[in-house]
Symmetry: C2
Subunit: 133 residues, 2 copies
Amino acid sequence: MVTKQLRGATARPIKKDDADLARADSLAREIFADIANKWALLIVETLGDDTLRFTELRDGIEGISHKMLTQNLRLLERNGLVERTVHPTVPPRVEYTLTEPGRGLRATVDAMCDWTHRHLGAIESARHRFDGV
Amino acid sequence: MVTKQLRGATARPIKKDDADLARADSLAREIFADIANKWALLIVETLGDDTLRFTELRDGIEGISHKMLTQNLRLLERNGLVERTVHPTVPPRVEYTLTEPGRGLRATVDAMCDWTHRHLGAIESARHRFDGV
DNA sequence: CAGGATCCTAGGGGATACTG
DNA sequence: CAGTATCCCCTAGGATCCTG
């Protein structure tokens, strides 16, 4: 589970503490569900250190639909990972960038991508082995 | 995108190289899609250093259905992240454990979980701000 | 106990059209 | 250009039953 094993750490479990832990738990699960999804992670990864417009993001992420992009951007914005700046020009110009916490998450996503690339070969052969049987 | 920016690195892009890069790309995307999903990541995280039976995993991951568990376990097995050992006893005993590459991925998932827990507060207030408006 | 196979529904997610 | 709303289809995924 997402929960870190620090349950038994407190001297004597008081009721209120348990309730707090439970709340933190379900919150963590909720956040994890928001974040641990293909599109959200790809958006974070694509944004990187840049400031990108809606269309630039859309073009940068192959296969993402208009709808999924807006939807996930709202989610990320709501969780404070992405900052959205609207320039009141015409036509409108909306820019997205990672917030400080967002960049923190990005580091871990980077690690995941690195991992993927380092294991491309191993995974490919594992697949062949599996499919062959 | 998952693709690392090493496209322009080669001296002169020869056709074959491009084709290879494209293949690696789509493979990376495929793997990423397999892995960057809530259940797969939770399974990896839950397995950790342990060797768990099907039912233990099922009980350890709150909210996962029988079907989703088997489905994702097969996927992880196919990609060589999880090893499945069947003990031909009766009733059967099937154990799952992370492979070496699987443990590598686990490290990055751990980082993601850590990140989540460190930012619980920040995210919660970001949400209130967002929802309040 | 592990896990296929089947059925069936909710909602994820695409395409399109409309506003500011 | 960015974003919302509508329609609609298709599949992810839950519940259930059946085998070794």
